[in-house]
Symmetry: C2
Subunit: 350 residues, 2 copies
Amino acid sequence: MRRPTIKDVASLAGVSPMTVSRVINLEPTVHADTVQKVRRAIETLHYRPDATARSLRGTRSFTIALVYDDNPNANYILSLQNGVLGACRERGYELLIYPCDPRSPRLVDELSLLAKNARLAGLVLTPPMSENARLLAKLKANDVAYARIIAARGDPKDGAPCVYVDDHKAAYAITAYLIQLGHTAIAFLWGDPHYRSSPERYEGYADAMKEHGIPVRKKYVLEGTYTFEDGFRRARKLLAGKDAPSAIFGSNDEIAAGALAAARSAGLDVPWDLSIAGFEDNPFSRQAWPALTTASQSTSEIGRHAASRLLEQLQKGTLPGSERFVPELVIRGSTAPPRAERRAPAAAGA
Amino acid sequence: MRRPTIKDVASLAGVSPMTVSRVINLEPTVHADTVQKVRRAIETLHYRPDATARSLRGTRSFTIALVYDDNPNANYILSLQNGVLGACRERGYELLIYPCDPRSPRLVDELSLLAKNARLAGLVLTPPMSENARLLAKLKANDVAYARIIAARGDPKDGAPCVYVDDHKAAYAITAYLIQLGHTAIAFLWGDPHYRSSPERYEGYADAMKEHGIPVRKKYVLEGTYTFEDGFRRARKLLAGKDAPSAIFGSNDEIAAGALAAARSAGLDVPWDLSIAGFEDNPFSRQAWPALTTASQSTSEIGRHAASRLLEQLQKGTLPGSERFVPELVIRGSTAPPRAERRAPAAAGA
DNA sequence: AGGCGGAATGGTAACGTTATCAACGGTTGC
DNA sequence: GCAACCGTTGATAACGTTACCATTCCGCCT
């Protein structure tokens, strides 16, 4: 029993294949009665248009790609992927997943060819690809549609659909919360600088400090990568000095988890001896002991919205504006007011 | 500048499109000189065959799907996905990802239609879909090629390519290690019973106990799911009783992490008061404090091999046999010999 | 010598859809 | 009353590839 084709539907409905095609594509020029007939025939036969033939003959394609860093945070990427996939399924699109190395010199060419070679309707770009100006320019030049997920405080207004996550505001909120608890000696551990989220988070921290009249001390701000190991290393260094901070804000949960391990190996009791906060709210942070105070992003919603905006643009031709997400402060057990005896020397040192 | 087609290559090489097609498909009936000419033309034009047209016209398709539980362990799925994707890229295949609900009553129909509707060359099935006999039968009846990743002690010899992971042996090794440390009061926390891995791991545990002359005590074996929360709940219950075990073996790292949290909330010092072991070696287990003793699977290799076997079968028509993986025991800080004073009552109770 | 078989290649049609244009009946405008 | 126009539908060809069969050329067998 062969799969039904558009011709089967056409002859059952007593119209031409062309008319069926019009119904499938929601073209407005078909008479309502005809639409009914065709719809019924489609139902009866369980007809599903063949995406292969459609994109071979047509101008359009029904596949988009999700482009992501191939050395990913698994939870983040899989959530994103779920959201994107959900939006695709709703609209009958397929998803191609495309992990890639952001540092590859061939990245730009590779990605701009990808759309042609795989007959893609468009791309959903995640950081750091979504923040690569050279790539974006080339995609535009090649007329490749894309939606971006980026870290930013405001709408980039570059004409392409965009979901921007206000990491600055969330990092500000976390820092302000630590300050409100009574901390002043708050260290900040950076993430990879080639992700836009890193400076955004740092600036959120720095702005909160300044606006509360607390100077940002260089020795409390350490650069590094978004990894557990690097969080461990840096926290260890901070805690070994005699002017140790009373709180550590890690740029993501991995870093914070590393700091937690360092605290424990230094014999400190978190949160009483040291407060630790993370960012991202991956499942780990709820399961750690103590559970991490962090900023929670609804990653799968972010993915869903980015894909929806891209598909909407593709279908309606309009350029939909951007959308803002602000990660929410989630207070858990890893943060508490500082010990009086620990706060004193730190304040004196500042 | 249009994408080059097979005709462009043909006229540049001075042959017919048919011959170019033969070269692309590595058919042996083309003269060596002709192959050279065509290859050069392909290089010159940067020609890439159009997968859309190939699968529309041809018998074959160049996309396979990765089918997985939509409520997944992110690290596991993403690693698997990476491996599968690697194998696909090597051979010029595309990957469709297909998360699904294993409990859906429509699962079997949905998946057997999937292959036709999306013109798929085959499926890579992961647990528990790979262990669903009704699904496998239907796929076979519909002539859908698939490769399976399953938990099993031996080759299922069902004619389909298969990667089987010997969870039994690894669970045996973990249990034997705990026994060797001196534990006899070893609790076992089950995973979801509708995953084949759960009984496999349990039997590995039970066999190790029996072969070392230690009876399996019912009160030390608790059923449940593969989640942190359920690990926490069950460990708490075990530790609350006065006949608490000196070691807990969780069926996966999530469960073990839950047990770790329960131990901590009960004021126990792991590993000195209680040893805890997990299974799977997800990144969390290295970052926990103390780091978890566990069994390590090279998940991305498993994915790569499953996909390779499927693609090999599709290309060569041979039915490649199955392949065995045995997770390796990884000893970390969460296990230690039992305290003498804790072991005594437990031994007395056994 | 005639025929036969194999190796190498080409011609033709088709996969399932849609872009394009043509055609139809029925207004509307002048 | 005739042209221009609208809403609706259909015929045709094409997208890029490959299945299938036909053709050519050659050497070899009887």
